[in-house]
Amino acid sequence: MSFLLQVINGLQVGSIYALVALGYNMVYGIVQLINFAHGDIIMVGAYGAYVVLVLCGLPVWVAVLASIALCVIAGVGIEKVAYSRLRNHNAPRISLLITAIGVSIFLQNLFQLIFGSAGIPFPSMFQVAPINLGGLNISFVTILTIVVTVLLMIALQLLVGKTKIGKAMRAVSEDADAAKLMGINTNSTVAFTFGLGSGLAAVGSVLYSNAYPMITPFMGSMLGLKAFVAAVLGGIGSIPGAMLGGFIMGIVESLTKGYISTQLADAVVFGILIVVLLVKPSGLLGRNATEKV
């Protein structure tokens, strides 16, 4: 029984890793950039929800929508202000990477300036009694997190596979110049991708803050880093890879906490990163490094 509970807890935290990892992978897929500011988008979303919910006293659904909107605007804004000019002038990739780290530091300090560096308790958004499933008492937030994540992943698969903008995303990620020759506006496709990834991160952010109700300007660093490991594990650039990597990471972390040691959990998680990089750098579902052109 306790094993099953650990797995379910793992699926919960894994769902959040997956939602965040999707942003890393979609952006990497389309512009080959590890957007290190992506983790801080989670923090922006959490503070956004907090302001609307607690300071403005508005209902939960408004807070959720406001958090998503804020993250989408932040994600697209970062792309337009910080990255797109570098990209359009063919700046070396390392310049973009350093810029991403700079944006991350900027966001953390901006929010520290506004809200202070001390943690702020995040109110429980969903006051629903635990649900009994086959003798196991599972919290509502846990079930909500897993269900919402699975639904969003199905929706995302449909979006990328079937819609016009989804096909444009795939075309741009495969060959941006050829996509331009098809009449695809690559800049707006990239901006859409940033917005989509940031929106998913906002959902992850709200769910995370309900499970771990203390928000700080630095909360995005560790969560973002773990989601990045999940992205590498699943295969950087791969959308199904982000989902798989997220779930595996969550379950491994939860089982380590439950059966080995809480303190070792982070070591195991980052140990996974080292093993993946040594054994299969392209990740579980990643593209092969050698591609036939």
Partner: protein, 236 residues
């Protein structure tokens, strides 16, 4: 005949390398024009500059409108499409998705469906493989797909960059006959080729590009008989 594309004093540099040195040429509506020259003569660079993929100096006018400095996707919407060198099909998308991408800038759904049907009729091999990933096609099929994809943009003019590259002589004939069909349907063609013999055989006029400058130009038939062209480009 009205002038469809006019390139004036086009200059492109990559750092210290002056790849295209002030070339000028024009293409009239309905023509097949070819730009021939050796590897590194600046043919592909010229094509990229016209399509807006790289920055250039000089003037480029399409259907009386300046397209110099315009974003590449907007140029396609004006009716100037390109089949890039090396085919560049989207390998991880299906044949049909590739063709749909060609019509990305169009809104007329019914006409798009008609055009797709027409391409499948002309290229039945692609129809058989419509759900297959483009990366699994043979080189010749990929080239036909790349051309079909550009035709899906319903262009007034098509730029083709080395469509014969890496293909067997039989396939080269198939590709060139498809190009002639497209031209017969009213699409103006600018063809860049290393295979000068084939290119001169279907073109009305030609320009010979040498190290970034136009060395010769004129009637394609006359150029094919020119002793210097024969010696350098036709291996005669």
């Amino acid at each position: 005949m009205s002038e469809m594309l006019k390139v004036e004093n086009l200059n492109v540099s990559y750092g210290a390398i002056h790849a295209v040195k002030g070339i000028s040429f024009s293409v009239n509506a309905g023509e097949i024009i070819t730009l021939i020259g050796a590897n590194g003569a600046g043919k592909t660079t010229t094509m990229h500059a016209i399509s807006g993929l790289i920055r250039s100096g000089g003037g480029i006018t399409f259907c009386g409108q300046s397209i110099h400095g315009m974003a590449a996707h907007k140029i396609v919407k004006l009716g100037l499409a390109q089949v890039p060198e090396g085919r560049r099909v989207f390998a991880k998308m299906t044949v049909q998705e590739n063709l749909e991408m060609g019509a990305y800038g169009r809104k007329d759904k019914a006409a798009i469906a008609d055009d797709l049907e027409r391409i499948f009729q002309r290229l039945p091999r692609l129809q058989e493989r419509r759900r297959q990933l483009a990366g699994t096609l043979s080189g010749g099929e990929q080239q036909m797909l790349a051309i079909g994809r550009a035709v899906m943009a319903a262009p007034k003019m098509l730029l083709l960059d080395e469509p014969s590259m890496g293909l067997s002589p039989i396939l080269v004939h198939e590709v060139f006959s498809y190009i002639q069909d497209i031209n017969a349907a009213g699409v103006t063609i600018l063809l860049v080729e290393q295979n000068a013999k084939m290119a001169l055989s279907i073109a009305s006029r030609a320009y010979v590009l040498e190290t970034g400058a136009i060395a010769m130009s004129g009637d394609a038939e006359a150029l094919a008989k020119d002793p210097q062209v024969q010696r350098v480009y036709l291996g005669g």
